[in-house]
């Protein structure tokens, strides 16, 4: 592990509720609990993976951290300062330290800007000196030939576009990057290239990643530690080796048993989950997973399990975890 336990980002009880309805004609208000009471720490130089089904709040978490969305409550400490309390000006000045890589490289690049304009935009915004030099260094780092600088995004493939997006997010020498499913929109053959590129850049530019994905193989490959999310909360958080060797939460166990093994002769017991993920508008009481959990008992329906450190550096939110440890 690259971790030296120096904390870069600390999230405390982060919560985001979206309100639906409540207009003049539709008085009934509904609250979507996208992220609820989320706490975790990201250490300097590591990659923290966040994995979960669609709608579990993982992308929302990324956006809340960068304040692209305003949180309902909670705090996000970046190098000790609470980002959520920054004024507009402070936030703008600090933005260069934390950047984002977006999921869809087709939609995240302005179609009417050339590669040069796209990558230079953050440099111009922060009035960086020697922009041309920096620009050339960036395109070189992500493997875009410099003859392509005058081209427009539609002239590139998905993988190349994501390289441009990565170059742009690195332009300001950020310390922390939230990568929101950066490879989900790409072909599998290209995914590996982009992930390896991100790993190389992490060493070269001293980056810390929050890597959001729904693909378990991708996240295992890049992450040092992994947080598994379910319905707006973390159910398990530990190092990636440990998570894949010895998952403790029944949800994680089910997820891991669903990873295909590229060898037809190996058979294994799959833990099948039944039913759909419940609506975040009306989440189940107690443990949110109890409606689908194969092990659920009465206590699960009543009390919300805390995220506890059951083994060193292994956090699990489950009432029954002690039983599975035995």
């Amino acid at each position: 592990m690259k971790t030296n336990n120096q904390e870069l980002v600390r999230v405390e009880s982060l919560t985001k509720h979206f309100t639906l309805g409540g207009s003049f004609l539709n008085k009934k208000q509904e609250i979507i609990r996208a992220v609820e009471n989320l706490s975790f720490t990201v250490y300097k130089g590591e990659t923290l993976g966040i994995v979960g089904e669609s709608g579990c709040g993982k992308s929302t978490t990324g956006r809340l951290l960068l304040r692209l969305m305003e949180a309902t409550s909670g705090s996000v400490y970046f190098e000790g300062e609470n980002v959520l309390e920054y004024s507009k000006e402070q936030l703008r000045a600090k933005r260069k330290d934390f950047q984002m890589i977006f999921q869809d490289p087709y939609a995240s690049l302005n179609p009417r800007m050339t590669v040069e304009e796209l990558i230079s935009e953050p440099l111009r915004t922060y009035k960086v000196q020697n922009r041309k030099e920096r620009l050339l260094k960036l395109v070189d780092a992500v493997g875009i030939p410099k003859d392509y600088l005058t081209r427009y995004p539609h002239e590139f493939s998905g993988g190349q576009r994501q390289r441009i997006g990565i170059a742009r997010s690195l332009a300001l020498n950020p310390k922390f990057i939230v990568a929101d499913e950066p490879v989900a929109a790409l072909d599998v053959s290209i995914q590996a290239q982009i992930i390896n590129l991100m790993k190389d850049l992490q060493d070269e530019f001293d980056l810390t990643y929050l890597f959001i994905a729904h693909d378990l193989s991708v996240i295992e490959y890049i992450s040092d530690r992994i947080a598994v999310m379910y319905l707006g909360g973390i159910v398990e958080l530990t190092s990636s080796e440990r998570l894949y060797e010895k998952p403790l939460h029944p949800y994680t166990q089910a997820l891991i048993s669903a990873i295909p093994i590229p060898d037809p002769t190996i058979s294994r017991d799959r833990i099948k989950l039944f039913g759909d993920i419940p609506s975040p508008m009306n989440p189940p009481a107690g443990c949110k997973f109890h409606t689908r959990c194969p092990l659920a008992q009465d206590i699960c329906k009543q009390a919300i399990p805390e995220l506890r450190e059951v083994e060193p550096e292994h956090f699990v939110a489950c009432h029954l975890v002690e039983e599975s440890l035995l």
């Binding site: 692209l68 933005r95 950047q99 984002m100 977006f102 995240s108 690049l109 179609p111 009417r112 953050p122």
Partner: protein, 278 residues
């Protein structure tokens, strides 16, 4: 851009409109050297001459050559069109982008103001504004400009709403780009296509409005060679000399038609999807 031009050229009808507009532009620029007679010169020996070899379109009640006056009229029409449409494009786009981008109360206030302006019939509103400002060419252009501002505001707002939540806008925000830069560098270039189309269509309306207001005596001074003024003066004589009314009328019709069909063609060329849906 190349594709747009290619598609535009394939549309014969629109292309003819474009050529005619180009012709009007050339005539307006070189009118001084093209006209066979001085458009202001009154030849008292030959009032109301019917079209002939010397006066192709005949002469008016003061013996002025109608052909020359129509050629000069292109200058007034284009000037009014350019400045009035420029006015409404400029202010309408700013209002629309600000309203669409910020939303909320700002949007409510700006949109309601444009709605109020929309509620009046075009010419009536222009008449009221002209009555307040007083008749002159400058005021005429301002009045037409104000009348068409809400159209541009509404189109710009709609375009902004469709791209405001795009990922690349969020990406720009995540890089600390301020709202003004986002509107100028991201939103404006991406909402330009429908605005360009509206420019050509409004040009036609502006020419028509200038003619109508001049006809009503609220536009340029009566001796100016404007198509509207010519029509207005011709109304007293057209029973005995049809050419005084027909030629300026045809000029207005052709100019307006050209801008309209070019606008339609441009819309199809800029957004090929729209055409397929029809």
């Amino acid at each position: 851009m190349k594709d747009t031009w290619k598609r535009f050229k394939q549309n014969r009808f629109a292309f003819v409109g474009f050529l005619f507009i180009a012709l009007i532009l050339v005539v307006a620029l070189f009118a001084k050297w093209i006209v066979p007679y001085d458009p202001y010169f009154m030849d008292s020996s030959s009032p109301l001459t019917s079209p002939n070899g010397q006066h192709w379109f005949g002469t008016d009640q003061f013996g002025r050559d109608i052909f020359s006056r129509i050629l000069y009229g292109t200058q007034i029409s284009l000037k009014v069109g350019l400045i009035a449409v420029g006015f409404s494009l400029f202010f309408g786009t700013i209002i629309g982008i600000v309203a669409g981008y910020f939303g909320g109360k700002i949007d409510q206030v700006l949109s309601r103001i444009t709605d109020v302006l929309f509620a009046f019939p075009d010419i009536l509103l222009a008449l009221v504004i002209m009555a307040i400002l007083g008749p002159s060419l400058t005021n005429l252009m301002i009045a037409i400009g104000i009348v068409y501002t809400p159209i541009f505001a509404r189109i710009a707002r709609g375009a902004v709403l469709s791209i405001r939540d795009s990922l690349y806008i969020e990406a720009a925000r995540s890089m600390g780009v301020n709202s003004f830069q986002i509107m100028l560098r991201h939103i404006l270039p991406n909402s330009l296509a429908p605005l360009i189309v509206q420019v050509t269509l409004s040009f036609a309306f502006a020419i028509l409005a200038e003619a109508a207001l001049s006809f009503l005596g609220l536009g340029v001074s009566p001796d100016t060679p404007s198509w509207g003024i010519m029509l207005s003066e011709a109304k007293d004589w057209m029973e005995i000399s049809w050419w005084t009314a027909i030629f300026p009328g045809v000029a207005i019709t052709l100019a307006v038609l050209s801008f309209n069909i070019m606008g339609d063609g441009l819309r199809d060329a800029l957004d090929p999807r729209l055409k397929n849906e029809r």
